[in-house]
């Protein structure tokens, strides 16, 4: 898939390359934005910003970094800028759909939210991304640019702490 994107870039077919990248990464980037911004609607706007930046930068992509790594760097920086520039309430839950849906916040959700909020920032980010990214350590490691071992270590500590809080 990545080779297909590289081929399109060599032919300067940037719009088609972007379509391929959207197919591959849009959901992952969106979930990272949700994890960082905790607001699905705002996360969708930021995901648009990310892919707009990627589209603008595609002609200058030099191929030295893997395209996923390059894209995640843009995504992470864009999300961090959004977090810094806006004052987000650090509350949960984050599991909101950006499409109209029934409100499903329950006492259990609130309890989970409070426990997650009590975790150290990195553990919270890892555990949140792990579940949002459908339990892929590899995806979390790529998104956060951390070794898989480090992700697992944060995840283990977070699980032990959460078990203590939730039982």
């Amino acid at each position: 898939m990545e080779e297909r994107v590289r081929q399109l870039l060599r032919k300067r077919r940037y719009d088609e390359a972007l379509e391929e990248l959207l197919d591959l990464y849009e959901q992952k980037v969106f979930r990272m934005a949700v994890a960082m911004l905790r607001d699905a609607g705002r996360a969708e706007e930021i995901t648009q910003d990310v892919f707009l930046k990627v589209w603008r930068a595609l002609p200058g992509y030099d191929g030295r970094a893997a395209i996923g790594t390059w894209l995640y760097t843009i995504a992470r920086n864009t999300c961090l800028s959004a977090v810094r520039s806006e004052s987000y309430r650090r509350t949960w839950p984050i599991a909101q759909s950006s499409e109209p849906a029934a409100e499903t916040t329950t006492a259990a959700d609130v309890e989970i939210a409070e426990c997650l909020a009590a975790l150290p920032a990195m553990q919270r980010e890892v555990v949140t991304l792990y579940y949002l990214q459908e339990k892929s350590v590899r995806d979390v490691s790529e998104l956060l640019d951390l070794p898989e071992g480090t992700v697992k270590s944060h995840l283990h500590r977070a699980r032990r702490t959460l078990a203590g809080m939730l039982t």
Binding site: L22, E26, V34, A40, I94, L166
Partner: protein, 134 residues
């Protein structure tokens, strides 16, 4: 070979799914109340987090909205050159009208009109680029 509880619990954290446990963990957990309880708690936490942190999906409006933003940013030859076309067309019409109405030499009017069109174009270009830098 027996396994200590700490190692077993690390393995449980590593693989919550019993199907992928190493054989030693599979043998240890049913015989150890502490680890069996640990597994039960971890499975429950995992289930609760899976429910609470369900992966959201992008809305169906995402790609159309992104495409609109891309189109708005795409360089457009007509949009970029339309002010220049209007500028020179306006001056040409004014010069032609002046040459036909005024009683002075039409050649002079044409030269003056061309000069005015060019110098005002240069002024506008400078003004436009300095505004873009702001």
């Amino acid at each position: 070979m027996t396994m200590d509880c700490r190692t077993a619990q690390e393995q449980i954290l590593e693989y919550l799914d019993a199907a992928v446990w190493p054989a030693e963990v599979r043998a240890h957990v049913p015989q150890c109340q502490t680890c069996a309880a640990f597994l039960q708690v971890q499975t429950s936490v995992d289930r609760r987090l899976t429910t609470a942190l369900a992966a959201p999906r992008l809305s169906t409006a995402f790609r159309p909205a992104l495409r609109r933003r891309m189109i708005a940013e795409r360089p457009s030859w007509l949009r970029d050159t339309l002010p220049d076309i209007l500028h020179f067309t306006g001056w040409s019409v004014a010069t032609a009208a002046g040459a036909s109405v005024l009683t002075i030499d039409p050649a002079f009017v044409l030269v003056a009109g061309a000069g005015a069109a060019l110098s005002s174009y240069v002024l506008l270009t400078v003004l436009r680029s300095s505004l873009e830098e702001l």
